[in-house]
Amino acid sequence: MTPEESSAPPEDGLKALKRDDKPVICVGSATCGRSAGALQVLETIKKELSNRRIDAEIIQVGCLGLCYVEPLIYISKPGHPCVCYRKMTPELAKELINDYLVNDDPRPDLALGIMDGGKMEMDNIPSIWEHPMLKPQIRIVLRNCGLIDPENIDHYLATDGYLALRKALQMKPEEVIDEIKCSGLRGRGGAGFPTGIKWEFCRNSPGNEKYLICNADEGDPGAFMDRSVLEGDPHSVLEGMVITAYAIGASTGYIYCRAEYPLALERVSIAIQRAREHGFLGKDILGSGFNFDVSIKQGAGAFVCGEETALMASIEGKRGMPRSRPPFPAVSGLWGKPTNINNVETFANVPVIISKGARWYNRYGTEKSKGTKTFALAGKVKRTGLIEVPFGSTLRDVIYGIGGGIADDKQFKAVQTGGPSGGCLPAKLLDLPIEYETMENAGSIIGSGGMIVTDEDTCIVDFAKFFITFTQQESCGKCVPCRVGTKQMLNVLERITNGEGKLEDMDQLQRLAMTVKNGSLCALGGTAPNPVLTTLQYFRDEYEAHIIDKRCPAKVCKALINYYIDPDRCVGCGICLKNCPVDAIEGGSRMIHVIDQGKCTKCGTCFDVCPPKVKAVIKVSGEKVAVPENPMSIVDYKKSKKSKESEGVSE
């Protein structure tokens, strides 16, 4: 790997986070950091610094992507490297201030790594860029995430921010479009349409008034790439938007962002203000005579609004229902005017391509899928977080290399990519290179970048039902195949998970899925069957186990499982009996407890509350366990067991 190919920032890349005159403490306070307790850590640091009268600068940075060890803080002392500390708590933060800021012990035991690029080392703390989660990454979109203060435009400027805009404004719009076309950049929202060609359509559409929309309605459950970019580096998206607007000739832009992302909305709105003050937005941008301004439109909670025609209807104040294409938005979009819509991540790529050139960019990736892709890696992997890899990396590289493999020593079952529009891929496809075409040929899609890993504890039929439940609820209801088809698919899946499935159900599901796929108006319906189709293709045995053996191999589907109390392990403590919400457990002090199978609702409470040392409650599917019919004293049970055993062995 050449130095250029490392994800580490250049040696002066952290200059925004370092000062010669006083220490700088950064707290990773994106939504994920906050949910792990970053704000409490921040408060403690502020208090502790003021109590001890230490003069230091505190900066809130975005997400570095190592979500599994949040909250993160970094400390840079003058003349020292910047050290990243993991899993911070208010107590540990106090210790660090005492040990490292006041004294000189950098506490290697709490450190994750040194943030500086180059070969900075201290007290055997390794470089964070050698960390197995970061090392394989190429961070283009995430270049600044976690490394700058997203609310401070000077930080963005210090990393050569808005230089690409200056460069673009000296080029002809057509040259900008050519550069993007040459880079091979494809839409990162999911469809993968070549971005430069999309821009060209819009540029060539007749009309003086054109619109540019940034799709930040990241609706896929299990995806948080766009949120992280908007929270961690909003100016990169704005800069990308201004360059795009210049290329296509738009003067008005919208960022359509979902209301579920309050922090992203706040940071984008601050970024827009600052960009206006600096002349990057508004009239006569940087003296070029080009005018463009952006406003924010808040989504109101409809998944279908991620579809471009639905999104535009929503901006116009209507129900967010898609319409048929053509006409394409490039010809007739928002309010009937030519409109170009790109996703957050697509825009974030643009400034880098303009600065470094298409040829630099398209060295990364494969023949047809150029550059890098961010993924929200979550589910049952050891290291969850936000990552960015070049196209052509394999699923195994991501799940086992970056993600560290499956958590709790469980077995890998499937990886689900592309959200409700994508599919579930099995272990035999782990070596599949991640590209638009390969993923699609396997039945899934790259989509916007959600990547959820499941293990043996996930029931694949139940998982397919989860996605169809979602798309069925989110179907806008306009076209019949999607509205009725998803409901019918859900009915069949419910039947199967309830243990009432018939063999012909699998064929019926397949037929329904193809009808919905081929007959739906928009991509929501067109891709909704993918989770079902891929699970039928790769995990047919699990469907058959439910239908033929009436067994749920993952022991998830309630109708197909039973809980029993193992008489050999029960100590008669009564905890399960006390906690059972439906009084289905009988027993008494020093008695073996018994679950009344007729009353049991299979909520699993007894399974969860039985002390780990005892582990008497067992969950089974499709098998019977021999237990006493009624509670009996543990002493009697042991005696009768002994006598039964001795009957078998004659003296």
């Binding site: 979500c67 459950p221 948080f224 909670g301 409809a302 998944f303 129900r319 979550a378």
Partner: protein, 152 residues
């Protein structure tokens, strides 16, 4: 209510595509969208109330009855689902005795089921009045709910 609403409407005069932002702002101010507010908004935009309802009911964000004092949102996005979000929802449902979309009789809690908060790496997630709680377990749910139940 009237004065609040009038102020909101005034700020949108002469602009296009404003129905959804108006509904959002009205709900932020009023807590929900009462029938009178819908009528008023419809009148302002020269639409029929049924058209306004048509748009408002399309989006999950809008409420048509007053919510409880605390709004509890349980995430059932893919990552939360895989990591046991359903159990979290069941625990809240049992603890509060209400289903998603409902409000407790004492108007203290409203329970909502949400498709994704984007905190997938720290799943499962529960949000109470905007505070995000991560890596939830049934025991943690009970503890957090107790805090809100006991406050005065």
């Amino acid at each position: 209510m009237r004065a609040d609403l009038e102020k909101i409407l005034k700020s949108y005069e002469g602009k296009k595509g404003v129905l959804i932002p108006i509904l959002q702002e009205a709900q932020r101010k009023l807590g929900y969208l009462p029938p009178d507010a819908i009528k008023e908004i419809a009148h302002f935009l020269e639409m029929s109330p049924s058209e306004v309802y048509g748009v408002a009911t399309f989006y999950a964000q809008f409420l048509f009855s007053p919510p409880g004092e605390h709004i509890i949102k349980v995430c059932l996005g893919t990552a939360c689902f895989v990591r046991g979000g359903r159990k979290i929802l069941e625990t809240v449902t049992t603890e509060l005795g209400i289903d998603p979309g409902e409000t407790t009789k004492d108007c203290k809690f409203t329970l909502e089921r949400v498709a994704c908060f984007g905190c997938c790496a720290l799943a499962p997630i529960m949000v109470v009045d905007g505070t995000v709680y991560s890596k939830m377990t049934p025991a943690k749910v009970k503890k957090i709910l107790k805090l809100y139940k006991e406050e005065r």
